[in-house]
């Protein structure tokens, strides 16, 4: 269970560029929730994910995951509990290292990294099987450098890396936004399969309202650093883009265009 209580975050405090990104955010996720997050630019979606991941500290508030207090924990220690995929396909993988080496790094998330082998043959078998489930042919290119892969392949690989050690919470920060529509659909399909298979608690930020409605069991909309809409259960299942537009008077061009 993820609990966010009374979170505040202001950037550039005390300057003309002061920006209150998160303003008293409260949110609770049950285990197994697959929550899609929508909202306009500057609504605080990515900031919320970065605060959970520990990229920067909160000004005030409490972050708790399955009873562990993450609030003051450094980013690399929180990684034990979290799987993350970023918007930028370059960000989630090491381009100059091989596919299997990247997976081996992810396989050791939350474990001690000592002087044992960085990758073993037994692991290679596991990686090969896991890569095969992506259906991208990466299982035959295990030693290729990740820098040679396309954006979609890299995002699929990052997704696999994020879930190789089952995370308590999966954070997807517009992970298909930089991909072409066809590739985006493929990556989303893989996302859904993995989330369903491992019953992962997931927060997925998206700018695409159709995707927000189509995926997950719960939808939240953020505005000015707070959750303003929270739809779940039956209501979520029957939701249409038109409903969302009418109900909540959305003015964001990008969300309208992506219908």
């Amino acid at each position: 269970m993820l609990e966010l209580k009374g979170i505040y975050k202001t950037f550039n405090a005390g300057t003309v560029n002061e920006k209150r990104a998160i303003d008293g955010l409260d949110l609770t996720l049950e285990n197994g929730d697959f929550v899609t997050v929508i909202g306009g630019n500057g609504a605080g979606k990515s900031t919320m994910l970065n605060l959970i991941a520990g990229v920067y500290p909160v000004d005030a508030g409490l972050i708790r995951l399955n009873g562990f207090n993450l609030t003051g924990m450094p980013e690399h220690k929180r990684a034990r509990f979290l799987g993350r995929v970023f918007q930028d396909p370059m960000m989630g993988t090491a381009a100059t290292m091989g596919i299997e080496e990247n997976l081996a790094l992810a396989y050791r998330r939350g474990k001690r990294r000592g002087l044992s082998y960085g990758i073993t043959n037994d692991e290679r078998k596991i990686y090969r099987e896991k890569l095969a489930t992506l259906g991208l042919g990466l299982e035959d290119r295990m030693t290729s450098k990740v820098g040679l892969l396309s954006g979609g392949q890299r995002q699929a690989l990052t997704l696999l890396m994020a879930t190789l050690q089952k995370p308590d919470l999966l954070l997807l920060d517009e992970h298909t936004a930089a991909l072409d529509p066809k590739t985006a659909d493929k990556v989303l399909q893989i996302t859904e399969e993995i989330v369903a298979r491992d019953n992962l608690t997931t927060l997925m930020v998206t700018h695409n309202m159709k995707h927000a409605i189509q995926y997950g069991n719960r939808l939240i909309m953020m505005d000015a650093g707070r959750v303003v809409v929270d739809i779940r259960g039956e209501e979520k299942k029957n939701l249409t883009v038109r409903d969302l537009l009418e109900k909540f008077n959305i003015e964001n061009d990008r969300m309208l265009l992506s219908e």
Partner: protein, 318 residues
Amino acid sequence: MDFFSNLLAALPGAVAQGLIWGLMAIGVFITFKVLDLADLTVDGTMATGGAVCIVLMTSGVNVWVALLCAFLAGMLAGLVTGVLHTFMGIPAILAGILTQLALFSINLRIMGKKANMAINPDNYDLLVSLRNVKKMTLENPIFVAAVFTIVLIAVLYWFFGTSLGCSIRATGANPNMSRAQGINVDFNKVLGLMISNGIVALSSALYCQYQGFADVNAGRGAIVIGLAAVIIGEVLFSRIFRNFALKLLSVALGAVIYYIVIQFVLTLGLDTNDLKLITAAVVAIFLAIPYWKSKYFKGAGKAIAKAGAQAKGGEDNA
């Protein structure tokens, strides 16, 4: 004919010197290429290692113990730079400059406030010495330095294949991804700087034995020579040497080639006082080659273009 016989006579010395500096260049490779940090501490550590080694040996310490102490002293210098960079948030390049500056005073202290200290090969059991450079025995410094190079490459190849070593490579390749995968990026940077400077100090200790003296100014411009070796090795061998161990070897070969080139221009009659100028020019040209190739010859090998981009990226980050 005079020119060639002179060059030939000087060649063994250049190779020995190149191999010893090649160890140092491997240290530079670890920070500059693996960790993507420009570490200027080495200009200080390249004097520290020798100072520690010669002082200890002249006071009767065994040569291997002296080498180990030099290595540890180098690691300590790397630790200081690492702490300045990570804990105190000082940009890596500046942290290195600060440590390097401080090391000048420390090196003088180590040598009892003397600017240089001699060690007589007749009275001490040195591992490498200039006077053996043309002997066809196992004492030949070329042979000894080659063994050191091979052992060092083997150890580093093993280390960077371990879980810890892989996480250090990941730290240099993509710090964001590393943190997301639970890697303590700051710790790895400090560790990498320590290993790198330890190796540089080891090279320094061997070089001072080779020359027969330690000098407080021995490290001046060392980083440039180290970079020269790294870049020369990469430009010449990156197409054939892909494996990590072979990349390290290409760095060592780069240092040897560098010293042969220097010997060549010296034999041509250039003034030794102009050496630093020549070095800077050689490094500038070799740094520019991959950049030019990628810019003006689009099809000219991805590996080289990438190497150039990386070298450039390293500087930008610094």
